[in-house]
Point group: C2
Chain length 419, copies 2
């Protein structure tokens, strides 16, 4: 197998692009060079938690990096964390979770991998399950592993330190998490571990443990955390601020459109392939206010939807969004009118004379004005364009009517049974 | 089996005698009562560390208490800590120790039990090995166990807190120690755990874990720590301030005699069977200085040697001690004299004319004074009474001569070969 040499400065620049931290850059460069010379690919370790099978854009940041390494000829080792999953997310508030059944793990792992291989090359990936080694891990191995690190070393981990100082509980089990993750590195003989910057501590424990076990210590490749749609916290399913890679195009497009303006540039950098020069241009435009951020977001949303669906789907999502977006322009406090309609009750379908309704709400001054506007396509009922003058409506219902861009009314229909 | 009821207040008083703390006294009384009514003996848990097989008087304090419970009809469950032994002593400075081989554990356990059953009734003891349950303990059990307690709870343990605050290392493994000890209580269904007061934390973890597992939580019976011969630190083999129960009578007697006076009363209380009234009398005598503490120590030493050997051995040890003790009365800085003796060299046996030697050292003023004192039994050579006027001595040797209580001299003999 031919492996690209990173002495090509463009390649090295590409690998480093958008990365938060590399430990250590010099050693990694040497490793890459040696690998290119020997033709032996590096083993790039990436773990995943099968209790959280859905991949969102926050994960994609790292997966795209793995893909770049694969394109140079290296091998991804994907660790299915079916044991660490029992302990809980190491990087934040955590609770000990009930053990997933073997079936649940299998189902979740399948879901995860379907999504994972949308970005990462399946042919250059080795999938390993923690249960291969932890399924037969005994107490003496636990004792041996736990004897190598101190409580103080682990409580120095940022999130542990904060929780400990503020009196929030840390289960003793949680101290095992970094140890198990580190042991994975020893077992799979990891050369480079990939993770979010919040995984720094755990990845470094792996590095140390490998050295203690006489292995060449892994390098650590840390990706920045993608901020979620709320613009504040890291993207996470449990915080509800995520954009999932399997979401339908309309949903995905709409979610990208909802990000605050200050995330436009980092999203372009971390989850799209646009060139450095284009990135610089966007940054410049945002800074100088020479572009409507909405237009940049549309471009971003197209890029992202195009990546996980198709460019065609991206265009359709954009069209749908634009329609929906107009509908969303209805202000919250609009005048409300009650309109009596002759006809049945309940769910009976009645007929609404729209020019009459527009007159009743004083949105127009005459039936002819109403007719003209309807003919011009200025009328929307519940956000949808309506070209007819009469529409069927359920008895006892409510509608929102929009006329052009500025006139709104809400109608409550009260049916008056005919005698 | 008939079990004594502790409602007999004398029995309860006996059980409580010399105990540091009972958790909880009320629940234990209820348990004892229920046991007497049902005829079902209580299970009294006592653990031991097979990496430290020698029992000293510090351990005896608790073993005597177990014996008292056995005499009421209860069962001792002795736990051979062949797994916790790998982790280290929980109650102090500890280092992770290499795993003992199965053979070492067997040999040490045999040694321990020989000593243990000098105090505890073998017929009412069940011996259990941790390897019965920890030999097949797997990672999911470790995770389950460690999830029940927090790091902060454990770091509150006195010795951990001190070490953590002063920056001394605590291996993560050490947090497992109290958990494993607690799990023992669950497995053997302990009713009462016995330990030194420094075991309080660990015993309480056992109590909590049993409750979590739906068992009736054990009561905890904590014994005071016997202070070692140095009068300062708890008796411990590693501190060298211990008195071992298998030491020969002379050694044991001498070690008891070497304790500082303030330990006389606690030793009487904790390791002898003397009655409360006698104890009170000794306390009174010590307080009012109406007794020579040396005499009380001799009584104490006799009691202790008698307990682990025989009363006869105790008397012999006393006699030997008294001899040795007299020898020890020789002051350290005594005048030294060099005496020339006609005769051979090296180890040849020469003849020493004692009255002449006494004259030479100016310890007497005349041969007749020397003879009179020798006849009265006032002479000792190297601590032993000598009644003759001439004794054989090796050439080129040295002797200490005592005359009465106040006159001492050291003689260096230099042989002058006869021509």
């Amino acid at each position: 197998m031919s492996i690209k040499t990173p002495s090509d400065s463009d390649t090295w620049k590409l690998l480093k692009k958008g990365v938060a931290e590399i430990i250590s850059e010099l050693e990694l460069q040497r490793m890459l060079k040696a690998s290119a010379e020997s033709g032996k690919p590096l083993r790039l370790k990436q773990g995943f938690d099968p209790s959280r099978p859905d991949i969102h854009l926050g994960h994609v940041v790292g997966l795209r990096k793995l893909r770049q390494f694969q394109e140079m000829g290296h091998t991804v080792v994907l660790i299915v964390g079916d044991w660490t999953a029992q302990i809980g997310d190491p990087s934040g508030e955590s609770v000990t979770r009930p053990m997933l059944s073997a079936d649940e793990v299998r189902v979740n792992a399948r879901t995860y991998m379907e999504q994972f291989f949308k970005v990462v090359d399946r042919a250059k990936t080795e999938v390993r399950w923690q249960s291969e080694w932890f399924g037969k891990f005994d107490l003496s191995q636990v004792i041996r592993l736990t004897s190598k690190f101190t409580v103080a070393q682990f409580l120095a981990r940022d999130d542990f330190a904060k929780r400990y100082q503020s009196g929030r509980p840390i289960a003793i089990t949680e101290l095992l998490y970094p140890l198990l993750q580190a042991y994975d590195s020893v077992v799979v003989q990891s050369d480079v571990e990939f993770g979010g910057i919040d995984q720094k501590f755990n990845c470094l424990v792996g590095r140390e443990l490998q050295a203690m076990e006489g292995q060449r210590p892994q390098q650590v490749f840390l990706m920045p955390l993608l901020v979620g749609r709320d613009g504040k916290q890291k993207m996470s399913k449990s915080l509800g601020n995520y954009i999932g890679v399997t979401e339908p195009p309309d949903e995905m497009y709409g979610k990208v459109m909802s990000i605050p303006d200050h995330l436009i540039l980092p999203y372009f950098e971390l989850v799209t392939d646009i060139s450095d020069s284009e990135l610089a241009k966007i940054g410049q435009e945002l800074k100088s206010n020479t572009v409507n951020p909405m237009e940049l977001k549309k471009q971003l949303a197209r890029e992202i939807v195009g990546q996980f669906h198709t460019p065609q789907a991206a265009l359709e999502a954009q069209a749908a969004f634009e329609t929906t977006f107009q509908r969303r322009q209805v202000p919250e406090n609009i005048p409300e009118f009650v309109l009596s309609l002759p006809g049945g009750t309940g769910t009976d379908s009645l007929s609404l004379d729209i020019p009459q309704a527009l007159l009743a709400t004083r949105m127009v001054k005459s039936r002819s004005e109403a007719r003209r506007l309807i003919a011009q396509g200025a009328l929307k009922v519940d956000g949808k364009s309506v070209g007819q003058e009469t529409i069927p409506v359920p008895a006892d219902s409510a509608l929102t009517i929009t006329l052009g861009k500025r006139r709104f009314a809400r109608l409550k229909l009260v049916s008056v049974p005919q005698k």
